[in-house]
């Protein structure tokens, strides 16, 4: 059952205040995924502090990188159910987990961090993983 919207709002704003576009409906996810050009990052946000407590600040740190993806969006697992299901359906070979982070290039999944690669790690460690991936996959993209 979803948590109270009031309780979850700060967790949404932690990402949206860093320029992350929040996708709350399946239609919004469809439209976001339909854009194929360039680099993009999709964050599956989560209430769970066991991992999301590092995922959000880690993503915020990483987004300060000059190589940050051109488009960044999030869905909120356990809150925006249809949007999350639609986002997960785009990656049918990947088991669902939240939080998790997908990096796409020209519409193709090129990098994925599942929940268990976030658990127990610091925001700085996660940001380092992400910025490394940004550097590898943004090289051929004209900014």
């Amino acid at each position: 059952m979803p948590y109270s919207p009031m309780l979850v709002r700060p967790m949404r704003e932690e990402l949206t205040s860093a320029g992350v576009k929040e996708l709350t409906t399946a239609a919004e996810v469809d439209a976001w995924l339909a854009e194929k050009n360039g680099t993009a990052m999709l964050i599956v946000n989560s209430v769970c502090g066991c991992a999301a407590g590092a995922a959000r600040p880690g993503a915020r740190l990483a987004l300060q990188s000059p190589d940050r993806p051109e488009r960044v969006a999030s869905v909120f697992a356990g809150q925006d159910l249809e949007a999350t299901a639609k986002a997960r359906a785009a990656f049918p070979d990947i088991p669902p987990s939240s939080p998790s982070i997908a990096l796409l290039k020209d519409g193709e999944l090129v990098y994925f961090i599942p929940r268990h690669r976030i658990e127990g790690r610091s925001a700085e460690q996660l940001a380092s993983d992400l910025t490394g991936a940004f550097s590898r996959f943004s090289a051929a993209v004209a900014h």
Partner: protein
């Protein structure tokens, strides 16, 4: 931003690998680990000797499919428990 979870031990919420004395390998999110055993949520299991390494390799890379919403592995069956992220 903190968690809403109560204190359920250091492995609560952590994705773990539990090996049993029956040669099962379970992977799932630990809810509790205490004298009764290990409760996993959204878990998958591998029961055959062949394919064990491939199962763990895949789990380590991408995670597991939640084929078992919740399972209790009795403590007397638990041979080892470790974090999936450390594989």
């Amino acid at each position: 931003m903190g968690t809403f979870h109560q204190d359920r031990g250091e492995l609560h919420g952590i994705t773990v690998v539990v090996e049993t004395d029956a040669s099962e390998v379970w992977v799932g999110r630990c809810d509790t680990a205490d004298d009764r055993g290990v409760v996993l949520r959204d878990a998958d299991v591998h029961r055959e000797s062949s394919g064990r390494d491939a199962f763990l390799r895949s789990a380590s890379e991408l995670g597991v499919w939640p084929r078992h919403r919740q399972v209790l592995i009795p403590s007397q069956s638990v041979a080892s428990i470790r974090r999936l992220g450390e594989l």
